[in-house]
Subunit: 116 residues, 2 copies
DNA sequence: CCAAGTACCTTGTATCACAAAGTACCTTAC
DNA sequence: GTAAGGTACTTTGTGATACAAGGTACTTGG
């Protein structure tokens, strides 16, 4: 058990949430997503992103279309579906509740330190 | 793919963090932890908690001692180790960074909605 | 033609939460 | 003293997922 693995575990499921968020704003392809996740300091590699996109598509949360590129191979541009939007709403609520719960735990520890 | 599973995945690794936090405050046994997690609205079941405690102990982050109970079988009271405290500090930093990253993504979506 | 860059895909591994079923100890009531 | 019920801890098997590593395919420029 090391801290790197703990970080990986902590991020589980949250990537899915972030990807849905990004795609909900408009058409994007994988490299766009990687850029945004990187700038938000959420490191992801291709081997994680592509299977995740395929899962979301197979579940009906996303759709894509091929678009020719003027500088390289064609790209898959993703859009979110109606089902995907509903799912995103649910995940957003889960995220809010989860962070509130964690902060409850953290703040209780802080309160204890202060009173000691 | 359903929302329940997404919630499970989102919580991965975060339980570990919360457990370390709770134990860092002083000696507790499993039922104490379950009570606190429940009151923080983080649902956990025995089949999740006990293996987690064993993992943390085997990694040297926790220690325990048996304590006789006046009303039932003996209990394992856990305390955090020096290594566990260091680990907790690292996880706390990871949690803060992670929530900031996610909020960056979320707020960017909100900003887009507002400007539209 | 071929080297380099871009984009997408696949396989195998390690890890984890959970359900479900099981083991063991203690107290109470008869 | 023993049966029943509650408390506490444990184990096994399943499904899901992030990641590393390697692979396929298309395009452009020399």
């Amino acid at each position: 058990m090391n801290i790197e693995n703990a970080q990986v575990q902590m991020r589980k499921g949250i990537l899915e949430f972030c990807i849905l968020h990004i795609i909900s704003r408009g058409e994007v392809y994988a490299s766009d997503m990687l850029d945004e996740l990187t700038s938000a300091k959420i490191m992801v590699v291709e081997g994680t992103l592509y299977p995740l996109l395929t899962r979301l598509k197979n579940s009906g949360l996303l759709e894509y279309k091929w678009v020719e590129s003027s500088s390289g191979p064609p790209r898959k541009y993703y859009v979110i579906t109606e089902t995907g939007l509903e799912f995103l709403t649910g995940m957003q609520a889960t995220w809010v509740e989860l962070s509130e719960s964690v902060n409850t735990i953290i703040h209780k520890t802080e309160a204890l330190k202060t009173s000691a």
